[in-house]
Amino acid sequence: MQRPNTRRALLLTGALVLAAWIAVDAARGRGVWAAVGHYIGDLTSRAGPTRDLRRMARQAAGVRSSRPITLRIWDYWSPSNTEDFARYFDELETRFEARHPDVDVVYQSVPFGFFEQKLATGMIGKRPPDVFQCSVYWAQAMYARGMLLKLNEYIDRTPKLQDEQFFTAALYHSRDHGDIYGIPQIFDALCLMWNLDQIKAKPELHGLFARDENGEIDDTRIRFDAVRNWEHFRQITRTLTDSKAGRYGFEINAHQMGAWGFMGWAVANGAQFQDRAGTRALFNDTPATAEAVQHLLDLYYEDRVSPPFRPVSASYELFQKGEVACSQGGTWSAKHIVRNTLGWKGFGMTAFPPGPRGTQQKTQSWGNMLVIGSRCKHPDVAWDYLRLVCGPEGAALRLTLLKHVSPRRDLYRSDEWARAVREEPFLENIPKICAAGEPLYHTQPAAVADEVIPIFEYLMLNYPEVKAGRGAYRDAAHALHVAAGRVNAVYARYQRILADWAATDRRREAR
């Protein structure tokens, strides 16, 4: 008779302890149960991962929506990525739906790596999105396949989205033979990221810092043109290297990098990767690219300023751990670094210093864009969404919530920008870096990367063999010559496909 009572008492005690624990956590606002509370709140909020549950329940119950138009938006950013993205999408949805009471905005997150595949199935299944964020990686091929709506007429009647309001380098990827098929919403560029704390520890490098209005060194900011040339870069990274202590001046990646590994340097030395039409590789037309690759090889094998090669999940992985003082990354990396390091902001960014054939700081830049699908049922509504996101309001929202810089010139004259730079000095150089960018042309980038990556990997990993005359290539120039041949074969194949598609379209129209 005693046993059930004992069990009941135990259960009751356990429940009381649990309740007390939850209450204490909730009161303190941190701890396991507070986190669970936040998560439940997130789940039930409009921006959480189950944000569409209410809508789905309504549909299942046969309740007619008060918003008859549905705008389906796909993005490789996701409300469930981080709390910042959740706030961003929530804010966009709220603002847009407030202005369009008849429109229901439905976001769908699609991971970047699967975006093309998912779009293909969406097209085949006749359920493609109305609007989606389009990387410059896919843009041209999508337009060539008739997936994107031509936007020229819409732009003509929208003063806030005229070309002169954008940085020129951000516009290259959104058009083809006069047809405009996308509006850039972010501005990205390859860049060098510098650990300012490590520079501060070396008084001989203090000249790299910017100065404040009193002429005093400001160790929270690095000058845009701090690094004069490649030789200066070599000296700086050697000074910052202490391999015995496990600290290196610069991280060089060999694995899976391909042209990403050297094109920032090559552009700063006067080279280009390809022609705009995507018919020919240009990187082998000048010794500038081979010099850039040789510069990296020398930094690795002669100056030994880099930690050993290894596959990495992100180019800034060692940088944010403080193991390298300088790393090649992108202007988008900043927000990830701040988040991954729980708020460290002691870094700055620059473009690539000029090489022996270069004249100024350079890089490659591009603007990922919002596009409207060619099968969009409500293109006017979709265009209104683009106006919001790609206009000044959306640019300010992305800066405030996501620390994303905009391809819009007006953002950099705004109060939001001045405040953001005061709070996060690493942002200061980003517009200069992007503006210094040569447009990054992308024709069949995945196929091109597949040809270039193994050659670059071989060269970087086996350079001592190559130098000794026992390698598969004579030197960097020979490797690039082979790579250019392979890339040209990819371009030739793609041009044949484009011609084939054009002929098919002509036949269809003739019928």
Binding site: M123, R145, H255, Q444, P454, T504
Partner: protein, 284 residues
């Protein structure tokens, strides 16, 4: 006296029982394969759809085309298959024998070894990516990268195949071992002359299944190396995926490569079945 029943093969209702499964096989296997073959004869883009008929040129390009990586990918795939078969046999069978010997906790060991088999390969690949980074970086070198991803494949498959071997071992009558012992056989001789011959059918089954699975290796290569370094882990399924979904207008070429892989696999399995023809090994 019961009523005489019609011979099994003349009972039409039996066809009804298998009809749903047969329909699924037709729609999702045979029709899909037929479509894939049709696509392989065309220049095809998944988004634009139907392209020009190009005959066997996709096959020719894969087999003898300049810069074609099909043969390299096939060689890597074959090496992966060899490593997987050897790896699975030398891990699963000993594990099964050890598990069988275990006096206590046999279920616990079985469960522990089986756990990787029910964990998605994507998750395992990510975990092992970090582990390999900490343990000597085998993925960094073209000499060891394929071996490293094969090790992961073996590690995942070992538990499942161990269960198959356990089932096979439990089928061997104890009397055979008793007789061998009476005849003075050593442990090794028991294993060599009793266990191995009587496990023959299980070994053949495991080998065939591992070969089929290993020829389609994709996830590890995609997640961990993307075919690198220096194409040392470029396998056929990865090439098929890249061409189908990452390169514009190459679905036909990707389908041709998939069919070539199928042909290779078909021939290998046929040879395997012919050499190791299943047989009854003892009287019950």
């Amino acid at each position: 006296m019961g009523q005489r029943t019609a011979p099994e093969r003349t009972q039409p209702v039996a066809y009804l029982y298998i009809a749903p499964a047969f329909l699924l096989v037709i729609v999702f296997t045979l029709v899909s394969m037929g479509l894939s073959f049709y696509v392989s004869l065309h220049s095809w883009d998944p988004i634009r759809g139907h392209g020009q008929f190009v005959g066997a040129s996709n096959y020719v390009r894969a087999l003898v085309g300049e810069n074609s990586v099909f043969w390299l990918a096939l060689r890597n795939t074959a090496m992966y298959v060899a490593m997987s078969v050897v790896g699975v046999l030398i891990t699963s069978l000993p594990l099964a024998m050890l598990c069988r010997k275990a006096r206590y906790g046999q279920s616990l060991f079985r469960t522990l070894y089986f756990l990787p088999s029910i964990t998605p390969m994507v998750v395992l690949s990510l975990v092992w990516l970090w582990l390999f980074d900490a343990w000597g970086k085998p993925l960094s070198s073209p000499r060891t990268a394929l071996l490293a991803i094969a090790m992961l494949g073996v590690w995942q498959a070992a538990g499942y195949n161990m269960l198959l071997f356990l089932a096979g071992l439990s089928e061997i009558p104890q009397a055979f071992y008793d007789a061998a012992r009476v005849d003075g056989a050593s442990r090794w001789q028991e294993f060599r002359y009793v266990t191995i011959p009587l496990l023959r059918n299980t070994i053949i089954f495991v080998t065939v299944m591992v070969v089929i699975g290993a020829f389609q290796v994709f996830t590890q290569a995609y997640i961990m190396t993307r075919g690198g370094p220096e194409r040392s882990t470029e396998v056929v399924a990865l090439q098929v995926f890249k061409n189908a979904f990452s390169y514009a207008g190459q679905m036909g070429y990707a389908s041709a490569m998939a069919w070539l892989l199928f042909a290779v696999l078909f021939v290998v399995i046929m040879i395997q079945m012919r050499v190791f023809r299943s047989q009854r090994t003892y009287d019950e």
